[in-house]
Amino acid sequence: MHTSADSSPVDRGRLWAAKSLSFFALLAAGCTGVISDPGARPNTPVVPNRDGAVVGDAAIPADGSTPSTPCPEPPSLHAYLRRLSRIEYVNSTRVLFGGAPTTLTGVLPTDSEVNGFDNNAESTVFGRTRAEQYRDAARAVADWVIDPARRDAIVRCNPATDAMCVRSYVTRVGRLAFRRPLEAGEIDALVAVAAVANDDPNPYVRIRVATQAMLRSPSFLFRMEPGMAVADHGPMAVKLSSYEMASRLSFLFLRSTPTSALLDAAQSGALDTADGVAAQAEMMMASPEVRASMREFFVGWLRLNKLASVRPNAMRFPQFNETMRSAMREETLRLADDLAWRDGGDLRDLLTARYTFINDTLAPLYGAPTTGRADEWRRFDFPAGSQRTGVLTQPGVLAMNTADHGVLTIIRRGVWALDVFMCDVVRLPPGMIPALPPPMPGQSDRDLLAYHRREPACAACHDRMDPMGLAFSGYDDVGAVTMTDSRGLPVNTAGSIDQLMIGMYSGPAELAPQLRAHPAVSRCMAKQMFRYAFGRSEGDGDNCAVSAMERALRESNFSFRSMVRALVRSDAFRYRAPSPESTGGM
């Protein structure tokens, strides 16, 4: 988090708008979630400092041109030693062996989501439970590998008759597993491990044991990036090796260990330069596999995993079922695909698209006609006068931000939009929340919410999350239009949000264009990409990379691919800090 005290070569005269100062001072003071300074951040909302000077997200010139956030000297380039996530483990198994046992996902440890992303490296104490799960996963894969139905294709030699079989197997598979060629000593060690099963009645158990050993090796489970010292970036940066670059690209785009072809490219030196990395990235972005895999970025950014635990009241919403749950997710991802990969796609349309993609399961929620062809997905343009807009009013997003109680639903929907599109994480103050008075007959959800805004301490956050959420109160628990709130009273979606400089709106369709133009949105998009790519929250030292991505967005009408290009060319992607520091992350 920036404050005027610790950074500010920013030209104050170019600050976006004088009135925004108070809002951003508030964020700086206590109501936002920036991770760089744990412990020092108070949780209690603070009344905005009227004359507070700020920067950070506010440092956007009024003309909307590129922000002038400086690169810190030197940038942090901090890189955690990252453990494979569950998805990464399964995907890597497929690269190693051409498949994976169907039970594998269930055996592997689940990943803790941080900011919606399941590949975060910040909290990774490697407890015994995880060690046992990795033990069982390795065994499941190894048993699958030596199944008589497929072992010839995978092992490519017969350990019963070929004395070199284990050696050739670990040399070939180990290169994929460790994401680099094995050292001679490493091959010998694996061969020696396999030899423990020499007297086993089944000769393939040697292959099994070698496979287990590789899959439990730290070289497989962790993404080692020792890097190499280079002259051009000084003592605070080491350059990632070609193989490490292949891994970064592969995990970014495919959430997997690199393929043999990508390792070949690394070996040839093709990934030694920024241009080479960019060219490889360009090639990868053209592939359907990459586009499918990058959906995980949108899943994390938009917190779509929350949909999995949605349980609308079965009496009131009998139409909701598992088919609808997956259709809701698919709808959001189809719009994301469209905006990310279609030529001219504009990520801001996540907020303002006047269309979506539906099938017959979702059509009734929109009052749209069905086709009778259940699986057919089609573009649906919102009729004139509709308040629907972008992902904000998609049924899945509304459903996953619905609570058992009307007031809380409104708050959740507001908090979600702030968090996802403005990187404004609203925190509750610790404890001692005054109880709301019991509702009186005739009081709407909106009336009840008004209590929050009487106490200055509560209002500091509720003044923006409540009106934001009320804009989406015209939709029920599964995202269909509703005229009444949870207390049976007429819905009123109108509002304004002074803290965010958002003027009067009658509903989502008038709110969304104002969000779209808000300067926090582009920065937030870049931050979300940063979090996904680097598995950690951005800090002060990461402004170079974040700003480069933000600039790329702004200069390309918010092209997703342009943002990714800026990412892979950034120093943060190609270099790392030399890791002498003890970060206290463990």
């Binding site: 949780n43 941080v114 104490v125 060690a189 050993a213 931000n401 925190r427 509702p439 520091e581 992350g585």
Partner: protein, 466 residues
């Protein structure tokens, strides 16, 4: 699962075989498990410590006694424990006192109630009491037993929280991260007793393979650590620690267990999804925890009934309704309808009156389960005492008064006697002390010599009857 009685002779035989093995060597050398020599008559039973988490706070008026001392009147929420009153210590006046660090009401409470240390956005900055016990009193390679019933709340963002699931779904911590709980009873069993009986020849072969693989991984970690910077090395060190634990575990498995091997749970026995908070699963997990304690396989650990923030919706409502209808939740009017799930009851039921009404029902259910665990520990005798006598269970929740989401006067109940250190049978007004004081008192009661944990400023002698 069969109820298992400790057999002193098998216990000794197990210990005798183990003399050459490091872990039991250490156990025998006066670290607290088997004091001095391995003679049955002089054996002092180990002291054990478990945290036991129940979600959602309490209705203060139905929980805290009006007066404290040995003659206190147990309030209805606690009456499921009445039959074990002599083993119970009800505490008042313990505050979380966590004005720094991250987290909302639920997260901060869950992440800090057994650490007394603030949260960062992703982790705790201290040890939880079970981990502190292991650090202070444990042997190299000794594991804690950390069990939970529910999955972590995936993907929290709504409701104003820190976006980190661990602080809602884990209660055992080391600085930097959670000690992730086991959630599958079959896995728990296998890690305690092995999936095959120790005498099975295939099991012996597999143990040999596994030992070789573990040796390889251990050497590989050490080799690679030398090439990495300090922070990366530290991360690998955590993996290395688990490898050492698995090595100890496999050595233990090669031995005949110190007590009768219970039946391996099956999914049919569970009758539930492996990742759900149900009565059946709670009991199976507590059975395993009790037998692990009785067999001296684990001395320290944590048990987490449910997550304070999980909106398990109809699930928890239905479970509780079934338990009440079946007469298995005691001390409550069966006519009272269960209308809200736990988190909703704690949060946003229509009126405070109705919320407290629901919260009280849930507390009776939680305390009925806690009483089950106490009974289970009591069913194992150790010489003239029971395992419960030599254990201290620290039961607590992430909230005090859920309607206010407050952390002052957190509800704590102690069950057991920590080997005689804690007399029980009383309610203790601790007088607005930070939670660290409670943690420190309990750690010292089981033999730790530390003088601080988390936000401790001292101890609470009244818990020890002083």
């Amino acid at each position: 699962m069969k109820s298992t009685r400790l057999n002193r002779r098998t216990l000794l035989r197990g210990a005798g075989i183990a003399v050459a093995l490091p872990v039991l060597d250490a156990m025998l050398d006066g670290k607290g498990l088997f004091h001095g020599t391995a003679h049955a008559q002089t054996r002092t039973p180990p002291k054990r410590l478990f945290t036991w988490f129940f979600p959602g706070g309490v209705d203060p008026g139905d929980w805290y006694p009006d007066t404290y001392g040995t003659g206190y009147v147990m309030k209805p929420s606690l009456t499921p424990l009445a039959m074990n009153r002599a083993h119970v210590t009800v505490l008042g006046g313990v505050n979380l006192n966590m004005n720094t660090g991250d987290g909302d009401g639920h997260g901060k409470g869950t992440g800090c109630f057994s650490t007394g240390a603030p949260l960062t956005p992703t982790a705790s900055t201290g040890h939880s009491i079970d981990q502190a016990a292991r650090v202070d009193l444990g042997m190299m390679g000794e594991s804690t037993l950390n069990l939970a019933l529910e999955g972590k709340p995936c993907c929290f963002t709504a409701g104003g929280v820190s976006n980190v699931a661990d602080v809602y779904g884990e209660i055992s911590w080391q600085p930097g991260g959670a000690v992730v709980a086991q959630r599958d009873p079959v896995m728990v069993f296998d890690s305690l007793f092995g999936s095959l009986p120790p005498t099975d020849p295939a099991a012996a072969r597999e143990r040999r393979y596994e030992t070789t693989i573990l040796g390889y991984v251990r050497a590989d970690i050490t080799r690679l650590q030398a090439r990495l910077g300090a922070s990366d090395r530290q991360r690998l060190e955590a993996y290395l620690t688990t490898i050492r634990e698995l090595e100890q575990q496999i050595m233990m498995m090669a031995m005949e267990p110190a007590c009768t091997r219970p039946d391996r749970p099956t999914s049919a026995v569970m009758g539930v999804e492996s990742n759900r908070y149900t009565t059946a699963k709670a009991k199976i997990m507590m059975d395993l925890m009790a037998v692990a304690a009785a067999c001296n396989l684990r001395r320290f650990g944590s048990f987490m009934l449910g997550n304070g923030s999980n909106n398990s919706g109809c699930a928890s409502r239905r479970i509780l309704a079934d338990e009440i209808a079946g007469g298995r939740v005691t001390g409550r009017d069966r006519a009272t309808a269960v209308e809200l799930d736990e988190h909703t009851a704690a949060h946003d039921g229509d009126t405070p009156v109705r919320r407290y009404d629901q919260i009280r029902l849930y507390k009776s259910y939680h305390m009925t389960l806690l009483n089950y665990f106490a009974e289970k520990l009591k069913s194992f005798s150790e010489g003239t005492s029971t395992v419960l006598d030599n254990t201290i269970i620290m039961a607590g929740s992430e909230l005090a008064d859920p309607v206010a989401h407050s952390h002052n006067n957190l509800p704590f109940v102690l069950v057991g006697h920590a080997g005689g250190a804690i007399p029980g049978g009383r309610a203790v007004q601790c007088g607005n002390v930070p939670v660290g004081n409670l943690l420190l008192t309990l750690l010292q009661a089981i033999g730790s010599t530390r003088t601080r944990i988390g936000n401790s400023t001292g101890t609470i002698p009244a818990i020890l009857g002083r």
